[in-house]
């Protein structure tokens, strides 16, 4: 595994670690995976950072019970590291893959000062109105409205290492992004564009801007996770796919 693959993986796991600690929903009960407790109505609810070598040991019985009792969440993210072992184990426990993300990192990305046409405004939302707009876009595209707590989003503003941005077009929010800076990399998350504003280059401009700002601060690699649809867009911006993450959902057969 090369360094950049490790950076992509670490940033994703540290991002979830960080958020779950802010929310107080991190579970440290197990040492072979990380769990964000299954708190109804909360985002995120996932199991991640699996060590397949240990996960296949006898403790998987406990894990299985916790899933069936609802203590653990039903969504799980597995990296492509030892995926055959992990996949076999997860399938035997009733998990099925349903989607995949490409772990991507910027290479040769254009970090020249981006243009910002007069009718566009890039800001870090702080007012209740701007935070509302940010949440509205994210919940219309990525996360169920019932699961994204407003106080969590407000806490992003004051957390070190966490920044949220809103791109406005003619005074109305059109695109969002969250930038998570770990000690060794910068991760881009929650990139969403309002449906009526898609295919107009807003998302592309927003990534260009936050990449530019991140590159000015440090030379940490810039990483993100893209769906197969997003991969083409990110590739045009200079991101290269290095690895893959698989999303599983628990299928309770009983």
């Amino acid at each position: 595994m090369n360094n950049i693959e490790q950076e992509i993986r670490n940033n994703l796991y540290e991002f979830y670690d960080y958020i779950s600690h802010i929310c107080g929903i991190y579970s440290e009960e197990e040492d072979h995976w990380s769990v964000i407790r299954n708190v109804p109505g909360s985002w995120p609810r996932i199991i991640y950072n699996i060590d397949p070598e240990i996960a296949t040991s006898e403790s998987s019985i406990i894990f299985d019970k916790k899933i069936k009792s609802g203590t653990y969440p039903e969504i799980l993210i597995a990296s492509d590291q030892n995926i055959k072992v992990t996949d076999s184990f997860l399938r035997s426990k009733g998990f099925y893959p349903f989607s995949a993300w490409k772990g991507m990192a910027a290479k040769g990305i254009d970090i020249s000062v981006p243009d910002l046409p007069e009718d566009l405004e890039l800001l870090k939302p702080e007012s209740p109105e701007d935070i509302e707009q940010w949440i509205k876009i994210v919940t219309s595209q990525l996360i169920s409205p019932a699961r994204l707590d407003k106080t969590l989003v407000e806490s992003f503003i004051v957390q070190p290492g966490m920044e949220i941005f809103l791109l406005k077009h003619k005074g109305v929010g059109v695109s969002t992004i969250l930038v998570f800076t770990s000690e060794t990399s910068t991760g881009l998350y929650l990139l969403a564009t309002e449906k009526s504003a898609q295919r107009q280059g807003f998302g592309r401009l927003l990534i260009h801007w936050v990449s530019f700002l991140a590159a000015r601060k440090s030379n940490r690699p810039i990483v993100l996770q893209g769906t197969s649809m997003g991969e083409a867009i990110y590739s045009k911006l200079g991101f290269i796919a290095y690895n893959q993450f698989f999303l599983y959902r628990y299928l309770n057969k009983q």
Partner: protein
């Protein structure tokens, strides 16, 4: 089992999962069926695996976007048997 027979069986499965009124073609994808969410996606995969006595590997599952993909995979697996 020929392609039409595979399709008919998959159509019956999809109607059980997504509702009897569901009409599909080989090109029908998750974006065409409102109830095709991540949960029903895994239900669909596991039911098809069981009904056709096949197992899809992870890369095959990730590549499935429409019903025609299921048929292609099942045909391929039948040929391999």
């Amino acid at each position: 089992m020929n392609r039409q027979q595979i399709f008919n069986k998959i159509e019956a499965i999809s109607q059980k999962i997504f509702g009897e009124e569901t009409i599909i073609t080989e090109a029908t994808s998750s974006s065409d069926i409102e109830k095709w969410d991540s949960m029903n996606h895994v239900v669909l995969i596991s039911t098809i695996e069981k009904e056709f006595a096949v197992t899809f590997d992870i890369m095959e599952i990730i590549g499935i976007t429409k019903f025609g993909d299921f048929i292609d995979l099942i045909e391929k697996k039948q040929t391999q048997c």
